[in-house]
């Protein structure tokens, strides 16, 4: 389970630009965007290192949802007052939300099945 597909070694700079300018709500210089991109690269490096440590700690070889939750708790994003589901609902588009949050469907089945 990864937050975004990063088949290439980096996220498209236009996407980073879009997201950053959406949240910053003020004009941003060109070199500032370059720095933001560098930071996001570093962020992903750190992310993978942390996740590796966490799955190793749990004695697994696969990253799972709970590892992400531990990571975000450690980063202070997920707290007792701010559960992961709320963050998903707040920041994810609907189609991703459907994939991540279990939804009761007809025939006594829950989607996703996990």
């Amino acid at each position: 389970v990864s937050r975004r597909k990063t088949s290439e070694p980096e996220i498209a700079s236009s996407l980073i630009k879009k997201i950053f300018s959406h949240y910053v709500k003020m004009p941003v210089a060109r070199d500032a965007f370059k720095i933001v991109q560098k930071c996001s690269e570093k962020y992903f490096m750190q992310l993978s290192n942390d996740l590796e440590a966490y799955i190793h700690h749990a004695g697994r070889k696969t990253v799972e949802m709970e590892d992400l939750e531990v990571l975000m708790r450690r980063q202070g994003l997920v707290t007792d007052k701010m559960p992961l589901h709320v963050l998903i609902e707040r920041y994810f588009p609907l189609e991703y939300r459907k994939l991540l949050i279990p939804v009761a469907a007809s025939g006594n089945s829950v989607i996703p099945s996990k």
Binding site: A53, H57, A58, E66
Partner: protein
């Protein structure tokens, strides 16, 4: 542990006082070593920081132990807690190795099968807290 509000407050105050005293002793050592003076407010501030940091530590350690499907906090969890700071991780690893070797020696001395499992949790945690209050180089 079911404690009423008053008892809880008393316990918290006792804990804080103990932390404050220890921090005072440590600050005295540093003061003699580095030839500086600590105001009372500084020592109080450091002890408050230490206290709250321990709160965070406790919650994180609990989470790490639960993540590994354990209900007991071990040295592994403490190492994971100190992962972010390289020097701290080195220090903690060294300390835990020392503890492990001393435990082994004790076991060999006793030559008993039924030795109570002594987790190196509390010393490790204290070391972390002490290290924290000494140089506080945690990101």
């Amino acid at each position: 542990m079911e404690a009423t509000e008053e008892e809880r407050l008393l316990l918290t105050q006792r804990l804080k006082a103990a932390v404050h005293y220890t921090v005072g002793c440590l600050c005295q050592d540093v003061a003699e070593d580095k030839d500086v003076q600590f105001t009372k407010q500084t020592i109080a501030a450091i002890s408050e920081i230490t206290f709250r940091q321990c709160d965070n530590f406790a919650k994180d350690l609990e989470m790490f132990a639960r993540h590994a499907k354990r209900s007991t906090v071990t040295t592994e969890d403490v190492k994971l807690l100190a992962r972010r700071s390289n020097s701290l991780l080195k220090y903690i690893t060294q300390k835990s190795e020392e503890l492990a070797s001393s435990n082994m020696e004790q076991k060999e001395k006793k030559k008993k099968k039924s030795s109570a499992a002594k987790g190196g949790k509390i010393p490790g945690e204290q070391e972390a807290a002490v290290n924290e209050s000494e140089d506080s180089n945690m990101a």
